[in-house]
Amino acid sequence: MRVGVSNKNLDWHGVKVGDALPPMVIDLTATRIVAGAIATRDFMPVHHDRSYANSQGAPDIFMNILSDTGYASRFLTDWAGPGAMLKKLAIRLGIPAFPGQTLSYTGRVTATKETADSGIVELEFKVTSELGDHLSGTAVLDLPLTRSHA
């Protein structure tokens, strides 16, 4: 766990194309998958019932897409800080995420631009596990232009 990151605002002026986000690692357990599914009010049995998941051709329960977008937004704002506003996020799922896997989040800045009152940052990111690519995505964040403007 990274301590303190989420209270510090990133200043848009210091962000450069190619900057890498601090990696995030999630050790996936059945508890994490079920907690995410229920917190997002997704009661599809493939996300909490192993025998049901087996009946659908899956070896175990797997993470729901609402949890994927949840973890992705945490990954981005852990880096950008509480003054950032998420404007866009798009993800495409690859190999499902099962208990026992380690999910590794990596991302980089692909573009920056300044508007009248905000600094825009575009990013791409991906999540890999022992099985390969779990998902890929892109995002747009709106960062405060000065540190005093959290």
């Binding site: 229920i38 997704d42 009661f43 945490r74 852990d78 506003m85 690859g94």
Partner: protein, 203 residues
């Protein structure tokens, strides 16, 4: 997500005339679904307003320590002026309150349907499995505590039949528009699922 490959009719040996007619009819049925609403006519309304309890549950699940979601003092001093919901909870506010009894028998559908929903044609044709593949959000603004959110959802497109890792199926894309109480758009979401015939392997 399973990778998309060739449509069935292009990749299979010639089929008997009657099953070809059947496939053509099914394809026409699917074409008629594009532009149709998903869910209740007139859209759906979040069963509860944006609230701290559900936000706290959500941020605990993902261990998201962003203080603007739970710390009223930090949030008040931020650009948001007060506690805001995590932006991607947008979809969560509109999730149906599930009827747990019988949910597996309904293929995971949270509520009993009268079988007339636009996606029922897939289940009737044996494409009973559902797997999400893409989710794309555009956020206009963050939501504050007490706001009630509604949404309308329209089917945008349906793919040809595809062979995927987990079986044959169709990718269905819909677009949801999320509205506040003044009917101003607070966000949009494009969501794609695969409706498939279970039998293959997921990984």
């Amino acid at each position: 997500m399973p990778s998309a490959t060739r449509p069935e009719l292009a990749s299979h040996p010639p089929v008997h005339e009657s099953s070809k007619d059947e496939a053509t009819r099914f394809r026409a049925t699917l074409a008629g679904l594009v532009g149709q609403p998903v869910g209740p006519a007139g859209g759906s309304v979040g069963p509860d307003p944006v609230n701290q309890a559900m936000i706290r549950h959500w941020v605990a699940a993902f261990e998201d320590r962003n203080p603007v979601y739970t710390d009223s003092q930090v949030a008040a001093a931020s650009r948001f002026g007060g506690i805001v919901a995590p932006p991607l909870m947008l979809q969560t506010w509109l999730m149906a309150t599930p009827k747990i009894t019988g949910i597996a028998e309904r293929g995971g559908s949270p509520v009993e349907s009268d079988g007339s929903g636009p996606l029922a044609v897939f289940d009737e044709a044996g494409f009973t499995g559902t797997l999400a593949s893409n989710s794309e959000f555009e956020i206009e603004r963050y939501l504050h505590l007490g706001e009630t959110i509604s949404a309308t959802t329209l089917i945008e497109s349906i793919s040809d039949e595809k062979q995927t890792r987990i079986g044959r199926g169709y990718f269905v894309t819909w677009v949801t528009t999320y509205l506040d109480e003044a009917l101003a758009v607070v966000g949009r979401q494009r969501f794609r699922i695969l409706k498939f015939k279970p039998g293959g392997a997921v990984a």
